[in-house]
Amino acid sequence: MNQDQIDEYIAGSMSEADAQAFEEYCLANPEFARQVEYEQRLKSGLAQVARGSTAEFVRSESPLRWNLAAAAGILIAIFAVFYAWTVGGRAPSTILAAVVDGAPAGDTSMRLALVRGSDSIPTLPDGLVRVEIVGLFEAGNLYSVALDRREQNQNDTVATLNDQQPSSPMSLDVLIDGKQLRSGSYSLRVRKQASGEEALDFGFEIP
């Protein structure tokens, strides 16, 4: 495979049969696939910038723009400090706990997975529940887990756990004490720490 074929694939000018062969080559050659993905992302990034304003491609530097950016930066810093003080400083809750050696095993267990097209929402059993979150987790990475209560299109974070290690490449376990939660809709948001990745959102209900 060469640069011309990458260009053809990205431009969408390759035949479907050739594109499928190209994709299978990518699956068998991860480093080549990374190179292709950078090109796809370059195109996607250019499209994002062009959607804003084509002036981005021809503009010169503007001091006013940086002054505005500096002012906004100060506001964001103030907000971040305020947020860390009010939210980040809360005492850890026992509603949500890590699964560690010597900790209670839980009265019951529940498995949460993202199933595309599923309409049913799982129900949290009574008592202390060991919840197995099924997803793809990278060994050696730490994950944060947030328990949110959903109310009228609004999410309120009830408890958070940081620095969690997955128990296998496909699961991460936590304990939830359902006795301390009111009935309603909840979600567990799992996010890889120190990454820009979006959180995975696992919904459940307490009757």
């Binding site: 062009a50 505005l68 964001i76 993202l114 490449p169």
Partner: protein, 197 residues
Amino acid sequence: MDFIPGGELSRRIRDGDTSAESELIRQFEPGLRVLLRRRTGGDYGLLQDLVQETLLIVIQRLRGDGIDDPQKLAAFAAQTARNLAIASLRKAERQRTDVDSEATERNADPARGVDRIASDLEAGLAVRALLRELPQARDRLMLKRYYLEDHDKDLICQELDLSEAAFNQALSRARRRFRQIIEERGFAKRDLLSLGL
């Protein structure tokens, strides 16, 4: 890193070797991202969901019944990803067909907001940083015409008064720098701000 053939990965996963599952994820994830990027129309959230779903299906299949020809594990994973992308597209089409027309009129352009949220923001930031670094407007226009307007190389060279060698050099430099920016994740506050402004 060494590439482990599909047959060996399949056997080890069937035997309960979790390190082989991690290896499968490491090997296949980049290729699946390429394949699904092409089929998810810039919806970054959907891309991530489908990559995960594909890998889960493949691993669960290998843990259970296995596949007919383990040597063709990459082809099996690719076809699984394509099927999921098609199913997802069909579901989205059905939802569009079922939509209440009055509600649609009330929300003049609902896709715009969703698209903005779901797009690969990091790539947008890296491109902004790259464009700021490129010394000549000619280089920035070259990227736009080549990647977004799908202009032919010869035409771009003619319009921008570039030799083919200069075009290739500038393009290769921009690609290299873009990758470097993403890898370093060296975004300054002004980059994050410029996205919101």
